[in-house]
């Protein structure tokens, strides 16, 4: 599909018919490998309580609708509240994260200034300390500011993404030609305008990737909200579903609800992915035309 929209790439001639088979087959194999376990979630969500542990693993069941109904009825529909919370955490967090990463990556890639590599290394170095151990100190910190158990306590720590900064830097370096910046600068554009009008449009595909990554990462983050939040009305899906799984030593785990909840939580991510991926098609060669 990319081939039809990007003029520069249709150039690959003739051979394509035969040449397409092998690469397509390899990719489809990869897709199959990745989809198979995911499809278990889909199949399992259709199974009723009685079917889940008794019918063959990949045989669909008859309980999808009743599972969804049970999930929707669980504690007066608290699932939808968790879903809304998750959208808020992931959407807000990923937007802010993309903004911060892009601006930082752009500055790191396109300016040379004292301390550039130090700042980059330090920001990236954040991934060296595992989140498992940071969660408790972060909680103690937020709680000393009276912010524990608030939406902020989950939102704020997830804005800075070392991976996002790194991606944005690599991306800005590759996608924003220096010549173009220089030309705009000579036309009298200031730093802010230069970034907003010249660099950001070119970085859009990279921003989409960062947004997707961060959105998914926050969507699935468990430990931070688990520690930060005491109030179950602020829980995101992961923590909420966990209360169904670890229902206490003397209560059964509600497997059907967990699986159905997992399936439903995948839907927005897939939808988001499908709507955002068209931005990857932007042909960046456009930069050359402009200058």
């Amino acid at each position: 599909m990319a081939a039809t929209t990007v003029p520069g790439r249709t150039a690959a001639p003739r051979a394509s018919r035969a040449g397409a088979v092998v690469p397509t087959a390899i990719l489809l194999l990869g897709a199959l490998y990745c989809l198979l376990p995911v499809s278990w979630v889909v199949v399992a969500a259709t199974k009723s309580k009685a079917e889940l542990f008794s019918t063959s693993t990949f045989v669909p069941g008859t309980g999808l609708l009743s599972n969804i109904a049970d999930l929707a009825a669980y504690r007066d529909g608290v699932f939808w509240l968790w879903l809304a919370n998750t959208v808020l955490y992931a959407g807000g967090g990923a937007l802010l994260s993309t903004a911060v990463s892009t601006v930082s990556g752009y500055a790191l890639a396109k300016y040379a200034f004292p301390g550039r590599n130090l700042i980059f290394t330090v920001l990236i170095g954040g991934v060296l300390v595992p989140a498992v151990v940071l969660a408790i100190p972060q909680y103690l910190l937020f709680s000393s500011f009276g912010l524990a158990d608030t939406y902020w306590s989950v939102l704020l720590p997830q804005i800075l993404s070392p991976y996002g900064v790194y991606l944005a830097r690599i991306y800005a370096a590759a996608a924003v030609p220096d010549a173009l910046l220089e030309a705009a600068r000579i036309d009298g554009a200031g730093h802010w305008l230069l970034m907003r009008k010249v660099a950001l449009p070119l970085m859009l595909p990279g921003m989409v990737t960062i947004f997707l990554f961060q959105f998914t990462a926050i969507w699935n983050n468990f430990l931070l909200p688990f520690i930060m939040l005491g109030d179950d009305a602020k829980f995101p899906l992961t923590v909420g579903l966990y209360t169904l799984l670890a229902a206490g030593a003397n209560q059964p785990a509600l497997y059907n609800l967990i699986i159905t909840g997992t399936l439903i939580s995948l839907v927005p991510l897939v939808a988001l992915f499908l709507t955002m991926q068209r931005h990857w098609r932007t042909d960046l060669a456009g930069g050359a035309l402009k200058s």
Partner: protein, 319 residues
């Protein structure tokens, strides 16, 4: 045609000790405040939510608790300064080193397979000829989106003898002493390949197609273009992806934790980070957890810098 676009690799490479100033020195000299302003939000967030908690972790790592008598009742438990005790314990812990060894084997397996596949998929997706690319792209990324809460259940259904569809084809105990590491690596590859593929793919999309046209006109095949032009362009991205993957592998936690309830072949200290989790969240010894995680951070640092040094000598030695 040696098509290594200068503009792409120009100011951008690896973090190197000396800042590179090659282009537009005039702009840079005048532009002193702007980059700092652009970086201010990131630095502020870093300071508040990473540096300070890390500082606190370091502080915790040199402390411990001391109880007196039965340890019940008020004031029976005090927090004290313990110096480097937690570190000597962490470094002297044989189980932790055994964990490092296991992670080393596991890590080599995961890194090799996952990154090769990610690169292969990214190159294929970027090639003009592939059909159903959009479908494959979503499908391969999807595992990254499956939340960990469902992981134990999911893999239980796929790995446990009486449920596993794999077992029906292949007669191996997927959770046995010898095989459990491969099963675990499979989870990591499955979950991580899409992420890394997208990183590389996005980097490829940033390359103007004009770079390839010249090569095509010269009669280069798609495979040649991929190997001679795209891979070199991707090199910085590949290297940093590898570094991030090394760090993630050193901190492996999710995969063994998901499988642990299903089998008796994975101990609570299978990987170093599992020990950290156990200390911090199960046995309540935050101080040991802090010290161990500092050790983990240092080892990640050494490994990733070691790797960078090696590839820099190899890949950039030529100039």
């Amino acid at each position: 045609m040696s098509a290594r676009p200068a503009a792409l690799s120009a100011p951008e490479r690896l973090p190197e000790p000396a800042p590179r100033r090659r282009r537009a020195p005039a702009r840079e000299r005048r532009a002193t405040a702007a980059p700092y302003l652009f970086l201010a939000p990131a630095m502020l967030l870093f300071t508040l939510f990473l540096a300070v908690p890390i500082g606190y972790t370091v502080y915790l790592s040199v402390r411990g608790t001391k109880v007196s008598g039965l340890g019940l009742g008020k004031g029976a438990r005090r927090e004290i300064f313990t110096g480097l005790d937690n570190y000597t314990a962490a470094i002297g812990d044989g189980e932790l080193w055994a964990g490092w060894l296991r992670v080393l084997g596991y890590g080599l397996l995961v890194l090799a397979v996952m990154l090769t596949l990610a690169l292969l998929f990214a190159l294929l997706l970027d090639s003009a000829r592939v059909r159903l690319a959009r479908f494959s792209r979503v499908a391969i990324f999807l595992p990254y989106a499956v939340p960990g809460v469902a992981a134990t259940l999911l893999w239980g259904f796929l790995y446990l003898p009486s449920l596993s569809p794999i077992r029906q084809v292949l007669d191996v105990d997927l959770l046995g002493t010898g095989t459990v590491m491969v099963s675990m690596a499979n989870i990591a590859v499955w979950g991580g390949v899409g992420f890394n593929m997208l990183v590389l793919y996005t980097a490829l999309r940033a390359v103007p197609s004009s770079y390839y046209e010249a090569a095509r006109i010269d009669g280069a095949s798609e495979v040649q273009i991929a190997l001679r032009i795209k891979v070199p362009i991707l090199l910085p991205a590949i290297i940093l992806t590898t570094v991030f993957s090394i760090i993630a592998t050193v901190q492996v936690f999710t995969e063994p934790t998901a499988l642990r309830p299903l089998t008796n072949t994975i101990s609570s200290t299978w990987s170093p980070l599992m020990k950290v989790y156990r200390d911090a969240f199960v046995t309540g010894d935050l101080y040991s957890a802090a010290a161990t995680s500092i050790v983990i951070a240092v080892i990640s640092l050494v490994l990733s810098f070691g790797f960078l040094r090696v590839v820099r000598d190899r890949a950039y030695g030529e100039g």
